[in-house]
């Protein structure tokens, strides 16, 4: 059974003008968000995006952008408490959940 998360929340954007159709985003996406259509990438399943950032990192022309980060409540709370970015707690503190 395929899990679905909240609709219309992700920050994933694709600039078709910059896309050269290399297909790298299709290769790295773990949720098959992209599809190649007449030599250009298209977003097929934008709500399936988990903002891991693999596509943007591996896009040679910076056609894909996303605010990448860990979708982990414990990490966000831990980060807020320490005043840092979301962090799974390398020291072991606050590591009860997340990043298994």
């Amino acid at each position: 059974m395929k899990q679905r998360y909240l609709k219309n929340v992700v920050t994933l954007e694709l600039d078709p003008g910059k896309c050269i159709g290399c297909g790298m985003c299709l290769e790295v996406c773990p949720h098959q968000v992209f599809r190649l259509e007449s030599g250009k990438a298209q977003m097929d399943n934008r709500d399936g995006c988990m903002e891991c950032g693999a596509c943007a990192r591996n896009c040679p022309t910076e056609a894909v952008s996303v605010r990448a980060g860990v979708g982990c409540a414990a990490a966000i709370i831990f980060g807020k408490l320490r005043g840092t970015a979301p962090c799974c707690g390398e020291s072991g503190a606050g590591s009860g959940t997340g990043c298994g």
């Binding site: 998360y5 992700v10 290769e27 773990p30 891991c52 591996n58 982990c72 979301p86 009860g96 990043c99």
Partner: protein
């Protein structure tokens, strides 16, 4: 003893890069780490020095280590030394796989490689698995390019291709690695179990290999960490309940005080099991999308059932207090499972937290006030 001699000649010792150039001698503590981490069964001579050869069969100790990590025992200190390793009898034409130095990731990979001849380049991800390390950037372009240089990989193999786990892609820019090191990165399958098929396929991953799954078993193995995470707050609650019972029923026999405490603890224990175990296990079958919601809903059902079936003399203040306090606790625990899922985005989690956290705090606060009011009027 023979093993440690071979390890001593291994090209890579620890995480201090300055010591890794050329040959080096490992300190005793490093050797201990290696020995306890996984069995080295031999060594391979290469133009870049001696490379340790590793076993592809897991020992009982390896399986025990995995089990311990699943229960959060030494989970954050479960690493192997970074560097180049050999599987079978690889040569200059053998493929190179790249992995993290989280031992569970490494074990998962090597147990699939029986009968193959290849190299594994282990990056220093500070003992974190590939996906989380890629998210942090430790499984990243810089570490990969550095590790290629430190292990003198270009002298060991004649080709210029690296096979990375697909889940390493958030941290590695393939085009940058090519520019900086001359090695071409190709992304292999998500799961180590598919690696042999991928190699036999001529390095082609089918759609199934590219997709992250999150089935019942995948979720279930993650619940022990959630349960141990809930243990500490649960023990604090147990302690508080004991203190309250001593204050109000101190005149009773010790046995009676303890039995009352445990009875009071039951709804909390159930809530912890609902939030940390039942919600992850039943995740796709619980209606709604936000995890905080799913936890609240199941928590409400549990407390409803508890009050209905197990508390014969229902007092409305008592019942309302429980309905206000406990479902938000289940909601909070379930919300924390977002870190273990493979499909929740940062934006999505922030969106649900914006509503869930204030709601949880207000609900618990009101419940506690109601409980105090009830104690003041009627006693516990």
């Amino acid at each position: 003893m023979e093993d440690s001699n071979k390890i001593q000649a291994a090209p890579c010792c620890g995480t201090d890069n300055s010591k890794n150039k050329g040959t080096c001698t490992c300190t005793l503590s490093n050797m201990d780490t290696v020995k306890s981490a996984f069995p080295i069964i031999g060594s391979i001579n290469t133009p870049a020095g001696i490379v340790p050869q590793i076993a592809t069969r897991l020992t009982f100790q390896d399986i025990l280590d995995t089990w311990k990590a699943r229960w959060d025992i030494n989970r954050m200190d479960y690493r192997i030394l970074p560097g180049l390793y050999a599987v079978g009898l690889p040569d200059s034409k053998s493929p190179v796989l790249v992995s993290a130095n989280y031992k569970m990731s490494f074990d998962r990979l090597r147990q699939e490689l029986g009968g193959l001849n290849l190299w594994i380049l282990v990056l220093d991800t500070k003992g974190i698995n590939v996906w989380c390390a890629a998210g942090k950037g430790t499984f990243g372009t810089n570490e990969l390019v550095n590790r290629i240089a430190l292990s003198r990989l270009a002298e060991v193999v004649a080709h210029r291709r690296l096979i990375l786990p697909q889940l390493g892609a958030p941290g590695v820019a393939a085009h940058e690695v090519l520019r900086l090191s001359g090695f071409k990165v190709v992304y292999g399958p998500v799961r180590a179990a598919d690696i042999v098929k991928y190699l036999n396929n001529g390095l082609k991953a089918d759609t199934g290999m590219r997709e992250v799954r999150f089935g019942f078993k995948d979720r279930l193995v993650l619940t022990p960490v959630e349960l141990t995470g809930a243990l500490k707050p649960a023990l604090i609650v147990l302690g508080l309940l004991l203190i309250i019972n001593i204050i109000f029923h101190g005149s009773l026999a010790v046995f009676q005080v303890l039995s009352r405490t445990l009875t009071d603890f039951l709804p909390f224990l159930g809530t912890a099991i609902v939030g940390a175990f039942l919600v992850p296990a039943l995740l796709p079958y619980i209606p709604g999308r936000a995890l905080a919601w799913k936890g609240w809903l199941l928590g409400l059902l549990w407390i409803g059932a508890y009050l209905w079936f197990l508390i014969p003399s229902r007092n409305w203040m008592h019942a309302s207090a429980y309905l206000l306090i406990l479902p938000p606790l289940a909601s909070y625990l379930a919300m924390n499972f977002t870190g273990a899922t493979t499909y929740t985005s940062l934006s999505g989690v922030l969106t649900e937290m914006k509503v869930a956290i204030p709601a949880q705090i207000i609900s618990v606060g009101l419940g506690v006030l109601l409980l105090i009011a009830k104690w003041t009027v009627l006693g516990p």
